[in-house]
Symmetry: C2
Subunit: 640 residues, 2 copies
């Protein structure tokens, strides 16, 4: 295959390109982001470039006017490289990487969080089961038999014949874009090509046909799109290896901290668009960073699997979530179709696909489905519980015979949001704390660096330590006039780390308001779990295992979580902390069609239990607003 | 449903629109053609309009810049009407209806043909069989159950549940565009909507969701795209009634009169694009005229079925046909995927679908498949022959057990092209001729109007009459010094109609060169038919029926066609003239999924016999260059 040098102006960035590679694809390799709303089909006309030097060959389209043609304007997506080139990318064709005003976003996020982005802790080792490897996008290398007068099948049917033989698929689809290139590519590549296949409903779709063998370059991303935090993982689709993980706050938060305020904001002028752009900007940032760190060409990122709550998935696809909050609480869709990632504004290979993990109901989303999948609770004959601690806490109880889910509005406190010194579980977050009777604090941080704030699991330890040391009473009031206690403009607070020790040069504190916030979060989750168990006529003792999921720490001390009344007081060995189960489930789906089908079955079979219709819920919640609980008989082993 | 008035500027054209109808759809109703390359998905950004007055609601998209938004620029496809409006459609957003220079085209076509466009004769009554009614695009009216807390299925799954119940389909797909509108439309229409479903591979695709019951407005077009002539038919998809038929010359002819020269031209700079635009311009013209005559909104034209030879179908979809003419003569695809009509540049409902009837091989196209389908020769146990007389003559021999096809390069003479006074079979065409021994000519024309030229069947009668009257000898030479014979700058010619009688005020003549041309055409077809019969070890006597297809006349006198040696000299009752069988087949497919599947089966099972590899073909062709034939024993009943 011939290679050519393409220089992009005005940057003067140079990349090597293959004969017949499109200018769009070469630009992506050069890290130049050109608009391409249609996925490189030549219909959107937004990727216009000016040819300054060299020879190209282009395809029919109506987007370039006669006048423009005279001035050497071409569509980057339809124009194939046939010599060394110099190409100017005008400003109008460049992608607006930040649809929101960046200054405004930064400022507003600073007001909300103590930090903005960092690397997640390494994946936990928990993995109960595995699925058959069969990634969402797959590459197949073909050495096709050359046509003869005897075997004169057309190019496309020849390709299908081989692909059907290899994959066993009955329906394979190809769009016009690939068919238009087919004759040329097959002959130029001497009938040796690599086909990228994506899964769309019951069919396989040809995403891309490349000359020669490129099967080693096939990557994908999985995402957990939380109301507060967005986590993404770059995965080598051949080996299944995770090449990197990143999490950052969802910039949508500038428009409201919870799902309901965002649904309302979506109705304002351009509201839906701003929310959509905020989530895609956040995701595109993670994709760009992880791809750059791994020196990876975005053309080789072929697919994306996203889990998230129902509202987040609507906003990702630009669907108005209005009816989710209106009786009878019906979303537009629980099962969203596979779309091109570019249709949703995500910048990967312009023909790459995006799959949303199916949701169950308005308040039980694809994140819960993914969590059930990755935890495996749908496979056991014994009863299991999954508690996913996020801005919305979701609780699922079930077995292989049934699955019932409910959702509790826990708030973002355990994600480090809405509390004065909260932060995500990342480098510098305090996650282990003990306090002696003299109220001296010892702690350790993630990464063992200077402390910058407190993450979710750090707060659990802190509350437990404050209770046992007497720094706080069981109602959450701070002890008067004790060391480290003080009054500030924010009310009463307890100094955990003084500014001399802190990485931020400010005291790291917990206020009475923070404690109130955390108490409501833990109370909501405990009450929801209790009501769900009772609703099914069960008792905690009958539960075989409880999986705790969430991105609030790298580990969780169950003893301490029980001591503050977040988790029920049962045998410790029944608890398993499994980290971000939504992200883990979306990774399972990214790597396995079997997992995709299992997720769809889970979403269809799970039933939703609306807590607010249970007359006991508000009572149970009120009783849980105490450390550990108003009714101490429920926590027999907890002694302070 | 609320109605609003939309005024389009600068034309000041006013239409009535429903609440939430898009501006694009209202413009189509107003007969204003706005660019919409993406089919109204909001990705191409080419349908920008300026809102001068009124209230709209729009969807997220990245195509409108902040600056444009300030100036009230909206995408017509994503913007819903919410009050009376005034909307300006800027020049840049208007569809360039003629991609070719119109003057140039007109001038060059004038050089090629004596007329450009006219109405086809009424469909012949031939119809041997019918298929189950199940049109390519179907409308279904739904009165959906309103969601409740007990029946809280999401909007999309609710729609799918009803559609699956009614259609029995297992896979139904919807694109983001429809899903984004769904929540609003369902509630605004009080859960009473009409869904347009199209067939795509094994799945049903939701093309459109409209409020209220609109099932009576569902139309489609079928087309026969010939190298020389393009014929189109507007069909009411509910009743199956043909509302109008038009045929016109394929404007591609300005780039070459046969398939091979066009394939070569496609390799020139912008050649493929020009050929593609020429065919779509011609088709769009027919669509516009027939829709206007029937006072029909293009939004209600939901699909298109196209038959044509393999090269024509490649050019229609913008696929380079280069390899069709290179050994081993392999097309890019015989089975082309269903695409949106707009992807191919055809202006109907922007979400409407286009299906190409599958081809068999490089020189046996979807027109032959459609002809076999509509003639029904694939269903009989006896042997049948189909002879389709076009620029390429295709001959199929077979039964329900096998089908073998071959193609003969007949040239466009019988379509009235490439002969001095030729014209299509339309109003004013001479189609019946007799000449007495004094060489006095009597004739009649289609529509009984003044003669304008001679159509294909007229030439058959004329040649036969010239032979029997002695005006021409059996080699095709004109008698010397006879009445009506003269020398002109074009060589020897015979005056059929003098300029006094002619509608064109010029003599209508046939030259010796014309006769040579027609002789080669009839010779090629006869030789191909003979060789095919012999190749299969058969004789003409064993053939049960011979169907003659083609757009060359409204009727065909078999006796005369045999007398000039176009058709074999066998029992007259075995011949049936069936008109444009390719168009009839594409209409069958438009109206019936059963016909679509039958066509696919026909294309897969038919085998192609390459005439040029038969050592006897050139001999047979040489012998057929005589009226009726060199070997008179083959035409025992022909006496002059």
């Amino acid at each position: 295959m011939q290679k050519f040098k393409v220089i992009f102006l005005p940057e003067q960035k140079t990349v090597e390109a293959q004969k017949d590679q499109t200018i769009l694809s070469a630009a992506i390799s050069a890290g130049i982001y050109i608009n391409s709303a249609c996925g490189g089909d030549g219909v959107c006309g937004r990727c216009k470039v000016i040819l300054k030097k060299g020879t190209v060959i282009t395809q029919p389209n109506g987007a370039v006017s006669l006048e423009e043609r005279k001035n050497n304007v071409y569509l980057a997506c339809l124009t194939a490289i046939r010599s060394d080139l110099e190409v100017e990318v005008p400003l109008a064709s460049r992608m607006d990487l930040d649809n929101l005003n960046p200054q405004e976003v930064e400022q507003r996020l600073k007001g909300l969080y103590s930090e903005t982005a960092d690397v997640l802790p390494a994946e936990t080792d928990f993995k109960e089961h595995a699925f058959k490897h069969s990634p969402f996008a797959n590459k197949i290398y073909l050495d096709l038999p050359v046509p003869t007068l005897e075997d004169s099948l057309s190019d496309l049917e020849r390709l299908y014949r081989e692909l059907k033989k290899i994959t066993g698929a009955t329906v394979i689809q190809a769009g016009l874009f690939n068919i238009r290139q087919l004759g040329e590519i097959l002959r130029d590549a001497d009938w040796k090509v690599t086909v990228t296949l994506g899964k769309r409903d019951q069919a396989l779709e040809i995403l891309q046909i490349e000359p020669a063998n490129t099967i080693d370059k096939n990557f994908g991303f999985c995402f957990d799109i939380g109301t507060t935090t967005i986590s993404g993982q770059l995965v080598d689709l051949n080996s299944g290896k995770v090449l990197g993980t990143k999490a950052t706050y969802n910039t949508q938060a500038v428009f409201g901290s919870d799902v309901i305020t965002r649904i309302i904001y979506a109705k304002e002028a351009s509201g839906l668009e701003k929310l959509h752009n905020a989530v895609t900007d956040t995701m595109n940032g993670i994709i760009r960073e992880l791809s750059a760190e791994n020196k990876l060409d975005l053309n080789n990122v072929n697919c994306l699997v996203c889990s998230g709550n129902t509202t987040m998935l609507h906003l990702l696809l630009g669907i108005d979530p209005a009816h989710i909050r209106k009786q009878p609480y019906v979303p537009t869709a629980n099962f969203l179709p596979v779309v091109r990632a570019t249709e949703a504004g995500i910048n990967i290979n312009p023909r790459g696909l995006l799959y949303c993990v199916p949701s169950v109901a308005s308040y039980v989303g694809g994140d819960t489905t993914a969590g059930v999948l990755s935890s495996g609770i749908y496979k056991h004959s014994q009863l299991h519980i999954l508690i996913d601690i996020g801005t919305n806490g979701e609780i699922v109880l079930g077995s292989k015979d049934f699955l019932v889910a409910c959702a509790a509005s826990a708030g973002p406190a355990f994600e480090g949001s809405g509390v004065s010194c909260g932060m995500r579980a990342s480098s510098g977050a305090i996650q282990k704390v003990s306090i002696n009777k003299k109220l001296e604090v010892s702690y350790s941080t993630i990464g063992n660096t200077k402390p910058r704030g407190i993450c979710g699991s750090g707060y659990i330890e802190l509350l437990s330590a404050m209770l046992s040391s007497g720094a706080m009473d069981k109602s959450g009031k701070l002890a008067m006039n004790a060391p480290r206690q003080r009054e500030s403009s924010n009310g009463k607070e307890f100094v955990v780390v003084s500014k001399e020790e802190s990485a931020t040069a400010e005291d790291i504190v917990i206020t009475e308001a923070d404690i109130e916030n955390l108490k409501r979060s833990k109370g909501a989750i405990f009450a929801a779990t209790s009501i769900l168990v009772r609703h099914l006529g069960l008792e905690f003792a009958q539960i075989s295992k409880i999986f705790i999921a969430g991105g609030f720490g790298t580990f969780l001390d169950m003893e301490k979580a029980i001591s503050i009344g977040l988790l029920p007081d049962i045998e410790r060995s029944k608890f398993v902390f499994i980290g971000n189960s939504s992200l883990a489930g979306s990774k399972d789906i990214l790597l396995s069609e079997q997992a995709m089908h299992a997720a769809e079955k889970i979403a269809r079979s799970m039933t939703y239990f609306e807590l607010s219709v249970d007359p006991g819920y508000m009572d149970e919640y009120g009783q849980a607003l105490f450390f550990p609980h108003t009714d101490l008989s429920k926590f027999p082993t907890v002694k302070f």
